[in-house]
């Protein structure tokens, strides 16, 4: 097993360096267990848990559907976010002819379905609508903001109306895409115009509060990751508890901002209650990149056995595993500007906690590390408990 933040496991090939979860019942664990039991009880009684996305825990993987007009940038989005294609390379992507299904091994295995824009699934009887939307997590509708969007909006309206009747729980996320290069005023004008057009149409058909959310995105900056973060967050059951844990950590350790990242896609799946700003997200996400890159250079090759023996010999006389403080990747950097530390802590193969600390708090690092450790254990237990059974 190889982690992107730690590199190849040079000294223990079976991956036993992984620290086992603390089994002593911490406060966080008790709370989580309580929540879990409550959840189970509710389920048995047959009453629905309203704030939980449907079918998440019972049936397989949540699914993200990417839809929109042709050439609106759907395939580019999925390549950039999930396959790390540099944005400039997306010019060479071919047009998508059939539905592309991607399964992403991540903290929660979700699927991304990329629809070809030229096909209207409601006109075409060969599509099994129920199989498609039955297990859906969210529908992402991409609109090209640099093009005439009236037709896209009309088609989106038809789609929403069709879906609302049968699958009222589907979250609809509208990505107003390719907004790089547009002025801030113009961006907001477009967003307002599209919002009004869609909501008016839905109101006319009697859907007052349809779950439609709008995001301004571009693949050339971090806005697309930010938008995906918000979409994914809606799919996480009991997100509130994760957020509460992070908020608590921020308060205790006086962090400015903490993010829980999916390392592979650089989507953040939870953050504390402070308003998220793009700047802090960007720096945290770039920091993960740096650590991954450095680890690739120095952590990806096996050291010789002889060398290991020398390291374990005098004056240390300890096994390597006992010489390190933690089996997970821990990192920290101090900015010159205000001596602000940024810390990174690996949670598991897929997740990392990244936080920006207050000025001059590097001296308190040992204490902070202890607190972070507790939260990391809590997050691990959270995913253990909420894992689809």
């Amino acid at each position: 097993m190889s982690s992107r933040l730690r590199g190849l496991d040079a000294f223990d090939p079976d991956g036993s360096g992984e620290q086992p979860c603390e089994t002593s019942s911490s406060l966080a664990q008790q709370a989580l267990t309580r929540v879990y039991e409550q959840d189970q009880r509710l389920r048995k009684n047959g009453s629905r848990v309203s704030d939980q996305p449907p079918d998440l825990s019972s049936k397989g993987k949540p699914r993200l559907l990417l839809m929109g007009q042709r050439r609106s940038g759907k395939s580019s989005i999925s390549s950039v976010v999930f396959h790390k294609l540099p944005p400039s390379e997306t010019l060479f992507l071919e047009s998508t002819a059939r539905i592309q299904k991607d399964t992403l091994p991540s903290f929660m295995d979700f699927q991304v379905w990329d629809f070809p824009g030229q096909i209207d699934i409601f006109d075409n009887p060969t599509f099994d609508i129920d199989a498609m939307f039955g297990e859906i997590g969210a529908l992402i509708w991409v609109i090209d903001a640099q093009d005439d969007y009236l037709e896209a909006v009309a088609r989106l309206n038809v789609t929403i109306l069709n879906l609302q009747r049968t699958y009222p729980n589907i979250k609809i996320e509208v990505f107003i895409h390719k907004v790089d290069g547009l002025s801030d005023d113009y961006k907001l004008d477009i967003q307002r115009d599209i919002t009004i057009r869609i909501q008016d149409e839905l109101c006319d058909h009697g859907f007052e509060n349809a779950p439609v959310t709008f995001h301004l995105t571009s693949i050339y900056n971090h806005s697309i990751f930010e938008a995906f973060s918000k979409v994914i967050q809606k799919l996480i059951p009991r997100l509130g508890i994760l957020e509460a844990m992070l908020t608590n950590l921020c308060r205790t350790c006086r962090f400015e901002k903490a993010y829980l990242f999916d390392v592979l896609s650089k989507i953040y799946i939870a953050t504390d209650s402070e308003p998220a700003d793009m700047a802090s997200y960007e720096i945290c996400s770039d920091y993960i990149d740096v650590i991954i890159d450095v680890t690739e250079v120095y952590g990806s090759w096996p050291r010789t056995q002889k060398y290991r023996e020398a390291l374990e010999g005098p004056p240390w006389n300890q096994k390597i595993e006992d010489q390190v403080a933690s089996g997970c990747a821990e990192s920290c950097m101090v900015l010159s500007d205000g001596n602000k530390p940024i810390i990174l802590r690996e949670v598991n193969k897929y997740l990392a906690l990244v936080a920006i600390m207050k000025e001059d708090s590097y001296d308190k690092m040992p204490l902070v590390n202890m607190n972070v450790e507790v939260v990391v254990q809590g997050v691990k237990e959270f995913f253990e408990i909420t894992k689809p059974k």
């Binding site: 190849l8 680890t295 250079v297 090759w301 990747a329 990192s331 920290c332 900015l335 690996e346």
Partner: protein, 350 residues
């Protein structure tokens, strides 16, 4: 090592210590090549912290763009970025010949791999070389075959070797034709601003210019042995080029051959992210410490070392080893202070 040989005559001049201290060493570095070959772009990336994308905004260089780049306190590079349009080129070769080509330490000649008119490029190159050998016969010549990203990856090696062969052939033709007796050894590099190859070339150029290099290297080596490091990299503060490095026996097994350039590239990009985050200028100092403990694989830290340098240390795992290495590096700062100060006469480089 050139600096060792060169230090012998300067010992005799120790009476002139005062003026030596006042006037830091200036190396004239000529950056030449055809118009549009990417000279100003690479200069901006290396010394002004541009990102590759930003270089699109650069206009054509008119005549010579002079810049003084302070490097490690005691070395000032006198960088002559020479506009490559033909009118300028002719001017350098005729009216300004003495002015441009005298007292040159290094000539960096940039070839555009995509150039349509290779013969003409070669002709210009040969006339530049002839002027250089006339006025600065001791100058080193670096040939950068630039814009390699435009060639498909599997063909790069072949295209590069082929072009270098052509340049060498033209050079030796010139040497024979002109009856030039001196030695002319050119050092070729394949570069692109879109990956780390540019850092490799420039690190090597800088490496040859830094005074006291052997002292730095031996001190770095002893520090590395003392703290049981796997690798030490010493970076210059603004450009993040590797000035010197030391690798342990075990560290030499690392299969990543281009790791120095890669680390330069990674850290430099990250510096730009930090500057966006903090709103500080791109050239300002961005971080004082960065540490990463990758479980039981390795640990690493990069810290501000002397005023002009950063030190990056790769260590085997181990908390105690890590902390003591950090303290030891702080103590070692004293012994590296000479990197910032002016040249002391005994160690000067000419």
């Amino acid at each position: 090592m050139t600096d060792l040989e060169a230090s012998v005559p300067s010992l005799g001049m120790s009476t002139d210590v005062r003026s030596e201290l006042k006037k830091p060493k200036k190396k004239k570095v000529l950056l030449m090549g055809k118009s549009g070959s990417g000279k100003s772009s690479m200069r901006s990336i290396i010394f002004s912290n541009y990102i590759a994308r930003d270089t699109r905004r650069l206009g054509a260089t008119i005549d010579v763009d002079l810049s003084h780049v302070k490097f490690l306190g005691n070395l000032t590079l006198n960088l002559w970025d020479c506009g490559g349009q033909e009118a300028f080129m002719e001017n350098y070769l005729s009216q300004q010949r003495v002015h441009v080509f005298s007292n040159v330490g290094v000539l960096i000649y940039v070839f555009d791999i995509e150039s349509r008119d290779v013969d003409r490029d070669m002709a210009t190159y040969v006339s530049i070389i002839s002027a250089l050998t006339q006025y600065s016969p001791t100058a080193k010549v670096y040939v950068l075959i630039h814009k390699m990203d435009l060639i498909t990856p599997h063909a790069r090696e072949a295209v590069f070797v082929d072009r270098v062969r052509l340049v060498r052939q033209k050079t030796s033709e010139f040497i024979q034709g002109a009856g030039y007796t001196g030695e002319l050894d050119l050092i070729p590099f394949a570069t692109s601003i879109w990956d780390q190859s540019l850092y490799k070339a420039w690190a090597s150029i800088i490496h040859d210019l830094v005074p006291n290099l052997s002292v730095i290297e031996s001190q770095l080596g002893s520090l590395g042995v003392l703290i049981e490091a796997e690798e030490l990299l010493l970076f210059e503060r603004t450009s993040f080029l590797v000035v010197s490095n030391w690798t342990s026996e075990e560290g030499q097994n690392n299969p990543t051959g281009d790791r120095q350039e890669r680390i330069s590239n990674i850290l430099k990009h990250f510096k730009q992210s930090i500057s966006r985050f903090t709103g500080t200028p791109r050239n300002a100092e961005q971080f004082t410490l960065m540490e990463h403990k990758a479980g039981s694989r390795f640990s690493m830290f990069a810290c501000k070392f002397t005023t002009n340098t950063y030190l990056m240390v790769i260590l085997p795992p181990g908390e105690a080893r890590f902390n003591s290495a950090k303290l030891n590096c702080q103590i070692a700062r004293e012994s590296f202070k000479f990197l910032d100060g002016p040249v002391t006469p005994g160690q000067s480089y000419n």
